[in-house]
Amino acid sequence: MPEPTHQDEPLLEVKDLVKHFPIRRGFLKRVVGYVRAVDGVSFHVMEGETLGLVGESGCGKTTAGRSILRAIPPTSGEVWFRDPVLGPVDVTKLDREQLRQVWRNMRVIFQDPYASLSPRMTLLDIVGAPLRAMGLATGKELEDRVAEMLQLVGLRPEYMRRYPHAFSGGQRQRIGLARALAPNPKFVICDEPVSALDVSVQAQILNLLEDLQEKMGLTYLFVAHDLSVVAHISDRVAVMYVGKIVEMAPTAELFLSPRHPYTEALMSAIPRPDPRPREKRILLKGEVANPANPPSGCYFHPRCAYVQDICAKEEPPLEEISPGHWVKCHLARELRLTGAVQL
């Protein structure tokens, strides 16, 4: 049941989150460097809001999601979550017991509906697992709750005793969603939840996510690489490049008038279901920078079409150039960039 909401306070606030993976070499496994998967990421998510996190593979979007949950321990930074029981807490500093409490309210759904469900567990076991682990329900009560969850995601409760192999990709994603929502959480990280699905099934799952958000008062962090999907579901969108957020803005503003050259290039690259020729297309040179050995200054400068001398020397700050629109670019105020949509 949606509890009274605090619309003007963020539910989640991430401050300068860093996750570096050490690179070890040789017999003694000495640390010879770090992969800067997430390199100082800050953002907030308001209650009931959907924040989209986009970027190409290796940009750190999935690692950011996992570090927020503390599924992997972040290297540094703060993750403030307003837990309904514990109140505002920094997830990175919690002990094991508190973490279990927070995990009731911070849940995740994964990309691969085949790998994320154990083939040896029935739906009752899968969806009931978080309830059992958190001591929320047992026996008949557990079964009733699982039945209710299955119904909620559009599956028949009679399927409870079946195994995942009997279900299609879309149905498996519904099972994963039922498992995530079973403890009645407040916040769900959706990590590429529809990218393994066919378009017609994708549409069903996106609609279901929106319905459930309304019904249960959910807040989403929606991690994906498909910009059309992110645009559809998100209220605001953050764009990541090599471990850093380079631009963040309300969805319509970002797609109409991006201010970072990387965002512009990304939007230009989307294949559009419209055979009419487009005016121009930006093809990025080269490849995504190596997060173990990033370039100097702005990480995007070797591929940027608008590059200036300063870009190779100094890293630009993430600045709020208009209300709610953050850009990490030296030239953000000067450039006139093309959005994905022209009105």
Binding site: S200, S228, A231, H232, A269, R281, L283
Partner: protein, 348 residues
């Protein structure tokens, strides 16, 4: 003339998989024509038979799959050294021995393929160069050293930076986009007449995908080959294809040019598919209320079932009672080059 003549004609192709659970009619009566130098797009959701159609063409259908019937006519040009003219002879690929000499001389040579996963298309323990030269020496009478030259030239044409160095690289040393370039180079090194691309960019990022699509279009112009482009992504279809076949459950339900497909699609399945993609313009132009995506009700039926009538009727919002669930619709040509397999458009 030559630019418009048929290269491959697929007629009533049926490829079935006989499994203990039943028979899967993966491809069930497909008619398609691939023209020289043109791009035919095949679009459909998983399990619609688009990949099996391509594999049938190359005679690579894995067991227990079998071509049960139909023809795959390949209009092969035989270059004659004496006369400057080229002769065409017709060969039915469906009748060839899958691993016979004739099929092997066509596969990888006149017809080649690029697969979805660039990592599994390359052998991880052999260098990129050795894998490309193998294809060249297999089909052309050239020495090892000449083959290496051709391979280096090909890698340069697919815009691989430092092509000579890449010859001695192992696949893991290349990024996903680079690997897919190497695979494309391998597919093109014998100058095929037809390139079959089965979801070649699905595993890649959008910016890399844009680079690869651009490259394929350029190479098509340069080499004059035909492309059969298979994808589930309607956006990619809009960019790549000239003619598009929409497949559903092993059958082509609509065939038309790419503009008509997006501007005035006719088959209820095509229309539903197009409506179910999130549109950027809707997302941006929306006011306070989010528009819901339109979905296709139900899901693709299980592959063992044999549905009477039109295979789409259980999910079709426009089904005609007492007709669609009993009688299989024929193919009606509603305009030149635009055919639909649906009762709504069949002439009485």
């Amino acid at each position: 003339m030559l630019g418009n003549s048929a290269l491959v004609e697929i007629k009533n192709l049926r490829t079935y998989f006989h499994l203990p659970e039943g028979t899967v009619r993966a491809v069930d009566g497909v008619d398609l024509t691939i023209r020289r130098g043109r791009t035919l797009g095949i679009v459909g959701e998983s399990g619609c038979g688009k990949s099996v159609t391509a594999l049938s063409l190359l005679r690579l259908v894995p067991s227990p799959g079998r071509i049960e019937g139909g023809e795959i006519l390949f209009y092969r040009t035989v270059e004659e050294a004496s006369a400057s003219s080229a002769l065409t002879d017709v060969i039915d690929l469906a009748r060839l021995e899958p691993n016979g000499r004739e099929m092997r001389s066509i596969r990888g040579n006149q017809i080649s393929m690029v697969f979805q996963e660039p990592m599994s298309a390359l052998i991880p323990v052999r260098t990129v160069g050795s894998q490309i030269t193998e294809v060249i020496t297999l089909h052309q009478k050239v020495s090892e050293a000449e083959a290496r030259e051709i391979a280096a030239d090909m890698l340069a044409r697919v815009r691989l930076p430092k092509p000579r160095q890449a010859l001695d690289d192992y696949p893991f040393q290349l990024s996903g986009g680079m690997r897919q370039r190497a695979v494309i180079a391998m597919a093109l090194c014998c100058r095929p007449k037809l390139l079959i691309a089965d979801e070649p960019t699905t595993a890649l990022d959008v910016t890399t995908e844009a680079q690869i699509l651009d490259l394929m279009r350029e190479l098509q112009k340069e080499f004059g080959m035909a492309i059969m482009y298979i994808t589930h992504n309607l956006g990619v279809i809009a960019e790549m294809a000239e003619t598009v076949a929409v497949m559903y459950l092993g059958k082509v339900v609509e065939l038309t040019d790419v503009k008509t497909l997006f501007m005035s699609p006719l088959h209820p399945y095509t229309r539903a598919l197009l409506r179910s993609i999130p549109q950027l313009t809707d997302a941006v132009a929306r006011g306070t209320k989010k528009p819901r995506l339109q979905t296709i009700e139900g899901m693709v039926p299980d592959p063992y079932s044999v549905l009477p009538g039109c295979t789409f009727h259980p999910r079709c919002p426009e089904r005609l009672p007492d007709l669609c669930d009993r009688v299989e619709p024929g193919v009606s040509e509603v305009a030149p080059g635009h055919s639909v397999k649906c009762h709504l458009y069949s002439s009485p």
